[in-house]
Symmetry: C3
Subunit: 206 residues, 3 copies
């Protein structure tokens, strides 16, 4: 198992948990846990593969991803009460998953021969669209509309990784980690200090 | 026309009606009937084909599906008042459409060479995502978040069908019907007895 | 640069602005402007390409589309106050963008060898799904559910264009414009006179 694959698995497990916890809060049955968990965990990567034309999409080529989603959702069904006590840690786990997906998504796009600007975008799409689908299906405010630093952190890490790969100074094993670290620390700082970028100020015309 | 194709047509007609009725309740014009009808009828199968890489998707390869959506939506526009009196039967028609799609979706995925676990999922996706898109577009609570037995029934039928195909004991013409019967009777029992699986109970920490 | 490409660029710029203005009204940061702008500008075309199997989708093959989205969104971030004063003109710009996309989408589908009925649909999908995704992500009422003439105008223009191409009476450079004119004038009339098609009247059974 390659290193990128391992990161990918960890990212998916974390995202599946955040999706399944939405089902827990809504007091749904186990099938809803699985569906919400799965769309959150593999939704972003599925969209990425469909846009790149890398079809059948990754979890059809390698069904282990399905089993990971299934096992994690079922595990969450039986332990959600315990897990959700540690809400604070989930926010950090989500930050980690998001950081991993941003870089892995960009890496997969580069591997598929996509131009570098596209690869950066694919990192962001892989990282945030699972959560966007989760929010849409559960009628929560979409993370796009929230004002915290989230997509921004994903963008920064994916850009860093692609830029470092472009200049070929460091081996990929190291650039991957630098990208992950950039996203994770930016998102982490946003969590701790409640950072946000300056927003547009809407002035109502009198 | 193969037998599976016939089941597919019937499933689509039923789903188009449920989508068009949402437009009726909202007092929309005929184009909204067509769009909501079509996304409900062919949305799940479109997503399935895009994920499998079976592109152009089925209704581009065989435009008859478009005409079925169109004719059914227009027919519903002129008869929705009549149809909606029989709301109870629509629930049953939806159960039938869902049962047909669960098995047909799994069958198409197997035919495309997908692994068996994937085929089960594709059955569920074909059966429920049209309805999920309909609910999302019309701002209704997503059927994923409702607590009735719905995706569960689809899953049971798709799983039964794929398992029976795996062991090759019975001819496909029969296993198809057994899968449909499992989903339909499970969903039917849920409608009659208002069955639901045990949901997670969220305990608020004091 | 071909003429169709130019129309396509203009359509995207207009749609990106309508998406970015949603972020402005919500007082989001610049990254949300870019994401909402981009999904609105290229969402419909992305869905079209995925369904046709024209992958990698257009903006991966030609990253200039990404730069157009980026530049337009950033420009809107700094000038939204100014732009939104001219809300009335935005409605007209959106009508223009929608007219361009309806015809360009149909033209691309014909070029990809799709049947004519499919090409008409692809025009409509290209024209309206960017806006539908924008409305869904920002929790606004979907334009499908509104009662104004919108999808209808798109449909009329795409149908006109495909029909004229079918009979080959006029050169494509002219049929394109006729299609655009049909959609634009129909949508324009709907804006000026607040036209709507007769809607279904839901009669509650006593």
């Amino acid at each position: 198992m390659s290193f990128v694959t391992l990161l990918d698995y960890i990212g998916i497990i974390v995202f599946v948990i955040t999706g399944a916890l939405v089902a827990a809060r809504n007091e749904n049955d186990i099938i809803s846990f699985v569906i919400l968990g799965a769309v959150t965990g593999i939704g972003g990567g599925t969209l990425r593969d469909m846009m790149l034309g890398q079809t059948p999409v990754f979890w059809i080529r390698e069904p282990i991803y399905i089993y990971i989603c299934l096992a994690t959702s079922v595990m969450t069904f039986f332990t959600a009460h315990f897990i959700s006590r540690y809400q604070k840690y989930i926010l950090w786990a989500d930050a980690l998953g998001m950081a991993l997906f941003s870089v892995v998504g960009a890496q997969i796009a580069l591997g598929a021969g996509a131009p570098e600007a596209v690869a950066v975008l694919m990192g962001v799409i892989t990282a945030i669209f699972g959560g966007i689908i989760r929010d849409t299906l559960s009628s929560n405010e979409s993370l796009i509309m929230r004002k915290e630093i989230y997509a921004t952190a994903s963008f920064a890490g994916a850009l860093t990784y692609v830029a470092l790969e472009h200049f070929q100074i460091l081996p990929t094993g190291i650039t991957l980690w630098i990208g992950v670290a950039v996203t994770f620390s930016l998102r982490g700082a946003a969590i701790i200090y409640n950072l946000r970028l300056p927003g547009y100020r809407w002035v109502r015309t009198p």
